[in-house]
Symmetry: C2
Subunit: 431 residues, 2 copies
Amino acid sequence: MTIDLASRVYSHRWKIDPIVRSLIDTDFYKLLMAQSVFHNKPDVHVEFSLINRSKDVPLAKLIDEGELRAQLDYIRGLKLSRGESTWLRGNMFYGKRSMFHPDFMEWFENLTLPPYNLERVGDQYELTFEGSWPEVMLWEIPALSVIMELRSRAVLHKMKRFELQILYARAMTRLWEKVERLRAIGDVRVADFGTRRRHSFLWQDWCVQAMQEGLGDNFTGTSNCLIAMRREMEAIGTNAHELPMVYSALAQNDEELAYAPYRVLEDWQREHDGNLRVILPDTYGTKGFLERAPDWLTSWTGIRVDSGQPEEAAETAIQWWKDRGEDPRKKLIIFSDGLDVDQIGALYSKFHGRVRVSFGWGTLLTNDFRGLVPDDELSPFSLVCKAISANGQPTVKLSDNPNKAMGPADEITRYKRVFNVGEQKAMDVIV
Amino acid sequence: MTIDLASRVYSHRWKIDPIVRSLIDTDFYKLLMAQSVFHNKPDVHVEFSLINRSKDVPLAKLIDEGELRAQLDYIRGLKLSRGESTWLRGNMFYGKRSMFHPDFMEWFENLTLPPYNLERVGDQYELTFEGSWPEVMLWEIPALSVIMELRSRAVLHKMKRFELQILYARAMTRLWEKVERLRAIGDVRVADFGTRRRHSFLWQDWCVQAMQEGLGDNFTGTSNCLIAMRREMEAIGTNAHELPMVYSALAQNDEELAYAPYRVLEDWQREHDGNLRVILPDTYGTKGFLERAPDWLTSWTGIRVDSGQPEEAAETAIQWWKDRGEDPRKKLIIFSDGLDVDQIGALYSKFHGRVRVSFGWGTLLTNDFRGLVPDDELSPFSLVCKAISANGQPTVKLSDNPNKAMGPADEITRYKRVFNVGEQKAMDVIV
């Protein structure tokens, strides 16, 4: 075999092998939300925090603090490149050019991410980010993917060369079998939502290519902007819980709080139309959210189902549209909560024809290494990075699954009262 | 990714992608036998012929005649390289240096393979080689591996990039699982005998590395000289049916014929000792061969079981040693007929402790792509290349499985009479 001497020498000069090498190695919706926040709430001071919901994964034992700092420092050194900027400014997203406005782009071009606070507490890390909302929010995805991949590396480091080769052979075979099963189900439209809890960047990139080759046009794109740019795919995503969480934390009283989740969408509606008008209704309970929703929301294109019993949430949405005189067959439901092929197939069978159905497939697309190493050390786990306060006020999330709720207990009680959330069914959170 | 421009340009200049790139990309026993023939029967004129026992594999439809000629012509252009010559002259084989004598090496260094005759007949190729025995015999392995790999390429050519990646991922996973199962069985000693019917050269090379990493010292080596040289492994092999077949064809009368298989071993014994003194008794029936064997053969180290019911043949061998006052526990039985892991495990369980056991694992090590593509188009099939005549006399092989018998009907009848072969049990020939 011919060795490319220059590239080998060059590679050996890296002090670290950086995991996140671009500010757009992040989810597309983060940029959409950052622009919205940049326009509407640029000065809100927020704190984001890493939360490892899988206490049995002792991150601080697995990941060296120095390595973690080196990776985070590397991210702080990143700047938007000229090509990335050109792509964001000029590319068509969701059928529209100039999605990102010149003022936002100028801000983004000059951005470096704010400092981080890292401390080891027991076997876990406390990792927090503080500062202005549009800056801090862009830490979420890189922070998660760095930790996920450092954990992968820690496990892979112990493996021999052939074990590694077989590991990836098995993982590839597994994913390809999933792709073939998806193809067999029918006209199932799926996007990659797996950046944040991916096994590694290169693995996500491979998974995305496998989806494209296997599903063709039914693979609707990836949430990862860097991969979307490089592979000339659609960048996919709309909005997330952090918008209602922060808006709600900023509410001055219960009345403002009750309306905060709709205020978010009022702001969103000014910027976006079509398939970007997707409601994420579960932050404080889907049922109550829809019941109290202002009429203008019924004209929105779709609803994203991200917690609780997905069939139940979808039925609730369909009934809501019907009750409000809308034709559900023209509406879109995006399922995105802990999906794998069986569930995608079941949901597709149940809802296609009744509503437009689409899937955001995350962790079990880009990180299904379950059972492939002893003690399941490469299994995905439930790591999130959330806004925990805004202008000093704690944020709260209830969701349709109480196991996904977060916030101080007294505030959770208050939110449950304001949003009239009754009994909820607890479900395991796998990923 | 950095592209090595020079090597890319260089690769594009190849007119073909040669399959056999070295005269030592062949089985070690071919060289041992070639030396024996070079010393004992250098002037015998032989004809070798390709025989596709799998009539359902239409080789001439799958493989382009021009491509086949180009590959065979490429082989005719090969010369032993200086490094290969040095390795053959200086390396220790079976614990012995200077295995290959200077006169043989000088001949080999000047060798180019004789012409071939290729003709399409229906959906099959007739491929024959004629000339002096030591030259022609060296065509066998390259001819087989070229045809096997051209057939693989014909199937692979239709596949897309990801399908190819998954195909190899699955094949690697399958082989690694076999290696792990072998390791779990116990102290099983296995060598690679898979050159002739390998999926491809690079695949054989990968399989051999996987065996080495997985089995460690229990992987005793490879029959492939080129791989043995490059990977610094033991080159493995002793002798084959062509010796008794040609010696027998040269016999002037029935008496000479009856002794021919022993004459072969007399010649062999003059050159080799220890683990190279391995009897291949099945050419004209194992049972009769052993019954009539001269006493000096009982001192030989082992017996290779290459057809029929392996348990039966091994029991016959053990009983023979006992009857002749030898301790079977000091003797070696090498199983080499169409093995896969289950059979290796069963034979190991049955015979270890009673006799030294070793395995020559061939086609299902280096070409187990069964079930990995539609219509099983990559499954191995039963292709051989055999001496069919010597000095104008047809050769005959009976073997312990009548489905492996070859030769003209009247000669088969004569051989059965001379070697007193009774009823034989027919068994399917898979590979």
